[in-house]
């Protein structure tokens, strides 16, 4: 039981991170039907910038409490990622908005490679350690353990999700976003500044990516110029699993993927008597993904058919 509970905690924490990144994919897709493959790299940039700030602070003022340093890292990383997201949208996607749908996909991949290389030039190929500034508290319940950082990730993710759903459902910007998602043309005829709404979508998605990037690096204790690639791929899969374009779907898909990976890696060896080992963790996760999509091509919470006109 304690092992089951522990795997549940592992999966939920991993899934929260996936969910947060998946939101960025799903928001952009919902509005533009564009897969923003550079989103994983924006996450990486958030982690790298925050680490640079925290690293400099830890050297300059070692007495400052860790949570304050983290806040400072966030305060710099979020604007940087937002600016980056806006720049990517303006330079790589907006000029191609009326081009065939494959064209922005290619520029997305291009931007992703450029960002990786920029990060490699700035910070090198080395893994960068996350300074030990956060409380290392560990709590045990029913034989499973959870750390302060894990609790913070879970709480923060849920809070961000609720806030985002509130923004989309209750605010003027949210209404404009929903209108733009249904039909860009009609929305603009109704007086919605479509370009502003799309920019706002990228800004919010990139801010979430920055938060997710910092979470990942704080959780695992390191950052690397390549970390965004795999994270982005997993988060994108989570978004598709939950139903791309659907906010709740991204959250559900992220959590499910995290749990599947965790339980898959934890139990697959024992269940198959050692025939399949934990190296089949990803195979297992993507098998579930394929199985779900065969029966529900629109994803778990995705709407059947096309919402857009």
């Amino acid at each position: 039981m304690d092992i089951f509970l522990q795997q549940l905690v592992n999966g939920l924490v991993l899934g929260s991170v996936y969910a947060l990144v998946a939101l960025g994919y799903t928001m952009v897709y919902g509005i533009l039907e564009l897969i923003n493959f550079a989103h994983g790299e924006v996450t990486m940039m958030g982690a790298m910038v925050a680490l640079a700030v925290i690293g400099a602070l830890a050297l300059a003022a070692p007495g400052v409490p860790g949570v304050l340093m983290l806040a400072a890292g966030l305060a710099v990383a979020i604007p940087v990622c937002v600016a980056l997201g806006l720049l990517i949208e303006r330079v790589a996607y907006r000029p191609l908005r009326h081009a065939p749908r494959l064209a922005p996909l290619i520029t997305a991949i291009g931007v992703s490679i450029i960002l990786q290389n920029v990060a490699m030039l700035i910070w090198g190929k080395q893994y960068i350690p996350f300074p030990a500034i956060l409380p290392q508290g560990r709590h045990t319940f029913y034989g499973a353990s959870i750390t302060d950082v894990q609790i913070a990730i879970l709480v923060l993710t849920v809070a961000i999700m609720l806030a985002l759903i509130l923004v989309v459902q209750k605010t003027r910007l949210g209404r404009a976003m929903r209108a733009t998602a249904q039909s860009r043309q009609v929305a603009s005829l109704m007086g919605v500044d479509v370009n502003r709404v799309i920019a706002a979508t990228f800004a919010i998605g990139s801010a979430l990516a920055a938060v997710a990037g910092i979470m990942v690096s704080a959780y695992y204790g390191l950052a690397h110029y390549y970390m965004g690639f795999l994270l982005g791929l997993k988060a994108f899969s989570a978004a598709v699993l939950g139903g791309i374009g659907n906010l709740g779907g991204a959250m559900l898909g992220g959590l499910l993927l995290g749990l599947i990976e965790s339980f898959g890696a934890g139990y697959i060896g024992d269940l198959t008597g050692g025939f399949l080992g934990s190296h089949y963790q990803d195979v297992f996760a993507f098998f579930v993904l394929i199985a779900v999509l065969v029966f529900r091509p629109q994803g778990l919470l995705g709407a059947r058919g096309v919402e857009r006109a």
């Binding site: 991993l14 894990q150 990942v216 050692g274």
Partner: protein, 384 residues
């Protein structure tokens, strides 16, 4: 047309003859023997490559200063050092170049990845090669009679690690994780064999990748099996988060790694959680080498700080020349048969080769993180 072709042919022949001259004879009747050295002299590993080159150069200068006579003829060694950039493709180009220059033997290369493809070219041309630092089993597994190394290989390291876990750390139950790379998997397989041979039990065999950072799931399933030691075959970017997550999960088993984890970067990345971690490195630390102190004095007077493998490069040069002396010739075909009979007391220890060209009884040193530093625990000879 016909004329110009003939002249060109003669010119080429003359040039070729000139090349031949360079390798065989130098003006008077002193024999010029070209020794090849190949390592990354540019790029991120340039400091290690230069270190190997200087190790060879130090030995070569000493041998020349002492005077070398082969088969009653005076001989002088000439160093031809090449940059392989730690790249397998460049390594083959460089190897071909050294062969074309008419080298009598090669000390190199530095990385296993560069050494292995180059070894085929030396073998095809019958040129003896001694690597001072390649550890991959595959280098000597190809069965080339020209391939030798004076460094402990990964299989030897794995067997020492597995036995050490059982006999020295007193572990009965051992969990093994590897990163599915040729290095990590190879090392982990050897550890598993040695653990079983020493009477230990492998309670879990888990896998990850060389890109992963999340090990919570596999560590949780390892925790359920309550091992005494968790061995990880892989590099520091995975080893560091792994030991952190072990602490997070409250796993009290000792962490044991190979040379991929025995790095300063591991301590930097794992921070306080690195404390108490154990890991090995092939070979032995300078201060434990029989001729370490004397070598250090000689080397540092000329070239500055020793980086890593220069003592091995230095010994490799002597091993090569000793074989030439026994054969009375620098002809690769003649002295190659003498190399397997090597029995040489070098700076790094007693050098003999086994049937494959590996260092017999290669040493493995174990280290532990104490007060944020790798501290030497002890050196163990493999195969004992």
């Amino acid at each position: 047309m016909g004329h110009s072709m003939r002249w060109a042919a003669i010119a080429v022949a003359a040039m070729l003859a000139g090349c031949g001259d360079k390798s065989q004879q130098a003006g008077d009747d002193t024999l010029r023997i070209i020794i090849g050295q190949a390592s990354p002299l540019t790029g991120p590993q340039a400091h290690l490559g230069k270190d190997n080159e200087n190790g060879v150069r130090l030995a070569l200068d000493e041998i020349n200063a002492a005077g070398l006579t082969l088969g009653g003829k005076k001989a002088v060694l000439v160093l031809q050092s090449e940059d392989d950039g730690a790249d397998p493709k460049t390594a083959t180009t460089v190897a071909q170049k050294l062969v074309d220059e008419g080298v009598a033997g090669v000390i190199g290369h530095l990385n296993s990845g560069a050494t292995i493809p180059a070894s085929k070219i030396y073998y095809d041309n019958g040129i003896p090669q001694i690597s001072p630092s390649a550890t991959a089993v595959a280098y000597t597994a190809a069965g080339y009679n020209t391939a030798f190394r004076v460094m402990t290989n990964d299989a030897q390291q794995g067997s020492v690690l597995g036995k050490y876990a059982v006999t020295h750390l007193g572990a009965k139950k051992i969990a093994i994780v590897d990163d599915r790379t040729a290095y990590g998997q190879g090392l982990a397989d050897e550890v598993e064999k040695a653990v079983k041979a020493a009477g230990g039990e492998v309670v879990a065999r888990e896998y990850t990748s060389d890109r992963a950072t999340d090990f919570m799931a596999i560590l949780t399933s390892i925790k359920a099996k309550a091992p005494d030691v968790v061995f990880f075959g892989g590099m520091d970017p995975q080893a560091a988060p792994m030991i952190k997550q072990m602490k997070q999960l409250g796993i009290t088993a000792k962490f044991l790694g190979g040379d991929g984890a025995q790095t300063p970067k591991f301590i930097e990345l794992a921070g306080a959680d690195a404390e108490g971690a154990l890991a090995s490195n092939p070979g032995l630390p300078l201060d434990a080498m029989p001729g370490g102190a004397a070598f250090k004095a000689k080397f540092e007077a000329k070239y500055g700080k020793i980086q890593n493998y220069s003592p091995y490069a230095y010994d490799a040069m002597y091993v090569l020349v000793e074989a030439m002396k026994r054969a009375g010739s620098s002809d690769p075909a003649k002295y190659l048969t003498e190399l397997p009979k090597t029995d040489y007391q070098g700076v790094t220890g007693h050098i003999r080769f086994d049937a494959k060209g590996d260092l017999a009884g290669g040493a493995v040193t174990l280290y532990q993180v104490k007060n944020g530093q790798w501290q030497t625990l002890e050196t163990v000879q493999s195969g004992k």
